[in-house]
């Protein structure tokens, strides 16, 4: 456990010194929160467009932010693999679980900090736009967004293990786009329906958004919240297991 924590600390320091991390994981989601809130103000009320209302938008933006945590996980792992630094650590008494947990722990911490900052920003935007947000929902979503965070950073770990430092960011940006679009972050997937909704329902991203939105609105119905949380949690466990297996196999191959 001590070695896991040492490695997690190193990764946290490494990430905290990357300015791009702050820009993409914190500043960009906040910017999108503000921009989309302005867009929402411009849409006539008669249109009945609810996606960009702050109690809907903040949940979507939270998932949008988590996709960037995935991107940075992939970059960190792929960069470490490309240098001899990881090779030195493979020769140390560290076990493979120390590596995978050491990558995941700081990322979960970053996701929690990101959720806190985004929820505080949502409070400010809600105050300005005159929409009331439930404090309990905002606090609870920080905790209940952890499964989706684990899912995304596990995907990042998989891509970081399989791809090199040049291709990992490219492939991850495809997932960022797909996660945002098929997760219904910036459009009403249920409203669109048809084949798009079917595709969205086959992937975990929409369920992540549903959990975040339902929690913020304190809507704990089975169909919107319970079922989605179960799917997201199971996907997170599966992805985490797959990430551990992928990293282990790449660890052997890299040697």
């Amino acid at each position: 456990m001590n070695r896991t924590l040492q490695f997690a600390k190193r990764n946290l320091i490494e990430l905290s010194r990357d300015v791009l991390g702050y820009i993409f994981c914190i500043a960009f989601p906040i910017l999108m929160l503000i921009v989309m809130s302005v867009v929402n103000e411009s849409i006539p009320k008669e249109a009945g467009m609810m996606t960009f209302r702050i109690d809907n938008l903040s949940g979507g933006i939270l998932i949008f932010g988590q996709t960037f945590v995935m991107l940075f996980t992939a970059i960190l792992v792929a960069t470490d693999r490309s240098t001899s630094f990881l090779l030195r650590l493979y020769a140390s008494p560290m076990k493979s679980r120390d590596f995978t947990n050491g990558y995941m722990f700081p990322m979960i911490l970053i996701s929690i900090v990101q959720a806190i900052v985004l929820m505080l920003s949502s409070c400010v935007v809600a105050k300005i736009s005159g929409v009331e947000l439930k404090v309990g929902g905002l606090l609870l979503v920080i905790l209940l967004s952890i499964p989706s965070a684990i899912m995304f950073l596990s995907i990042g770990l998989i891509f970081g293990s399989l791809l090199n430092e040049k291709s990992a960011p490219g492939v991850c940006s495809v997932i960022v786009s797909a996660g945002t679009f098929l997760g219904g972050v910036f459009f009403d997937a249920e409203g669109v329906g048809g084949p798009i909704l079917k595709v969205c329902n086959c992937l975990p991203f929409l369920y992540c958004t549903r959990v975040a939105r339902s929690t913020i609105q304190m809507d704990f119905h089975w169909e919107t919240f319970g079922k989605s949380l179960l799917i997201v949690s199971l996907t997170a466990i599966a992805m985490a297991a797959l990430a551990v297996l992928t990293f282990r196999s790449r660890m052997k191959a890299d040697q």
Partner: protein, 357 residues
């Protein structure tokens, strides 16, 4: 004369035939001729003066070049003498050490590293081909070989980074395959590339490695910090302790890399081309650091630099195409090959092997 006549014609406006200067112009003729002679003498003097000056300058330049050349030659000779002295000093020290070891009965020291029929295949390619090698406790062995000789693969097998395809490798009696975790506890490695966390400071890199290698039960936070301070001091890294390691020069990075390998106070240290790509001064500086950590530690060093192997190691093993062709002290190798100096020994062994094929 012709010029004086033309001058006279110009002054008088009359056509004056050669050798028939009218009497009325005789005085004028003499004056012109005298002036021209003086002018010619002055011009001649100026030309002569210029030639002399030019010669002096050229002479000075030549002399300056000769002096500079002499200084350079003198410096080269002095440098060679110093290098020779350093190597001779090391050889003498090694012999003294060897004699001391023999006197104390330490010549019979236990075998720290034992390789028996060790092989590593990558597909059909034999990277390491059935090698046998023994390194005693406290001994420093240099693995010499051209690129692709199998030096780094041997190091990788010893550091449990890759599994052997055949044979056994034991470090302090621990098998590198069956007892990987126990081997990793006593082996430190510095890889070919500087394996450092580039965004972490020098101190953070060392603290991180201390957390990885030092058992928390035996080393609490305070003791770990003390160990980091000790290493910072030993490797003279104090002045760059708060510098991000990615911003250090190549020499400093190598030094940090070896310091990181030393944090766990390993019984065995594997140095894979530690001075690769360093300038001569940085290399010498690193040699001094390696000399310091040599005491009572078993070290295997791979290198391309003959003078490095000559200056640092107790024994030398020459690897060619995955096989260890020759092992021994420099004196033994010279005796076996009939050559003087490690470079000649190495070339002779490599060429001999090529002819043999």
């Amino acid at each position: 004369m012709k010029t004086a006549r033309k001058e006279l014609e110009k002054t008088t406006g009359e056509n004056i035939k050669t050798g028939k200067t009218p009497v009325r112009y005789q005085e004028m003729w003499w004056t012109i001729e005298s002036n021209l002679t003086e002018k010619n003498i002055i011009e001649k003097n100026i030309i002569e003066k210029n030639i002399i000056e030019k010669n002096i300058i050229e002479k000075n330049i030549i002399e300056k070049n000769i002096i500079e050349k002499n200084i350079i030659e003198k410096n080269i000779i002095e440098k060679n003498i110093i290098e020779k002295n350093v190597i001779e000093k090391n050889v003498i020290e090694k012999n003294v050490k060897k004699k001391d070891m023999e006197k104390k009965g330490m010549g019979k020291m236990k075998n720290m590293i034992v390789l028996e029929n060790l092989s590593k295949n990558y597909g059909v390619k034999k990277a390491v081909d059935d090698i046998n090698l023994t390194v005693k406790e406290g001994e420093m062995l240099s693995l010499l070989g051209v690129n692709g000789a199998g030096k780094s693969t041997t190091i990788k097998m010893l550091s449990c980074l890759t599994k052997p395809s055949g044979g056994t490798a034991k470090i302090d009696g621990r098998d590198v395959v069956k007892e990987r975790d126990r081997v990793k506890e006593i082996v430190g490695i510095s890889t070919q590339d500087t394996a450092i966390a580039r965004n972490l400071t020098v101190e953070e890199n060392l603290s991180f490695m201390a957390g990885i290698y030092l058992d928390p039960k035996a080393f609490d936070k305070k003791k770990r910090e003390e160990r980091v301070e000790e290493i910072l001091r030993d490797f003279k890294l104090e002045e760059v302790r708060r510098t991000k390691s990615g911003k250090l020069s190549g020499g400093w990075q190598r030094r940090l890399s070896i310091a990181m390998a030393m944090i766990g106070n390993p019984k065995v240290l594997l140095l894979d081309e530690p001075t690769l790509g360093l300038d001569v001064l940085a290399r010498r500086e690193l040699w001094r650091e390696i000399e310091k950590i040599k005491k009572n530690r078993t070290i295997i060093l791979t290198t391309h630099y003959m003078e490095e192997a000559e200056a640092l190691s107790d024994r030398i093993a020459i690897m060619i195409k995955g096989k260890i062709i020759m092992t021994g002290t420099l004196g033994e190798l010279e005796e076996k090959t009939g050559q003087k100096g490690l470079e000649n020994v190495f070339v002779s062994v490599v060429e001999g092997e090529e002819k043999h094929e």
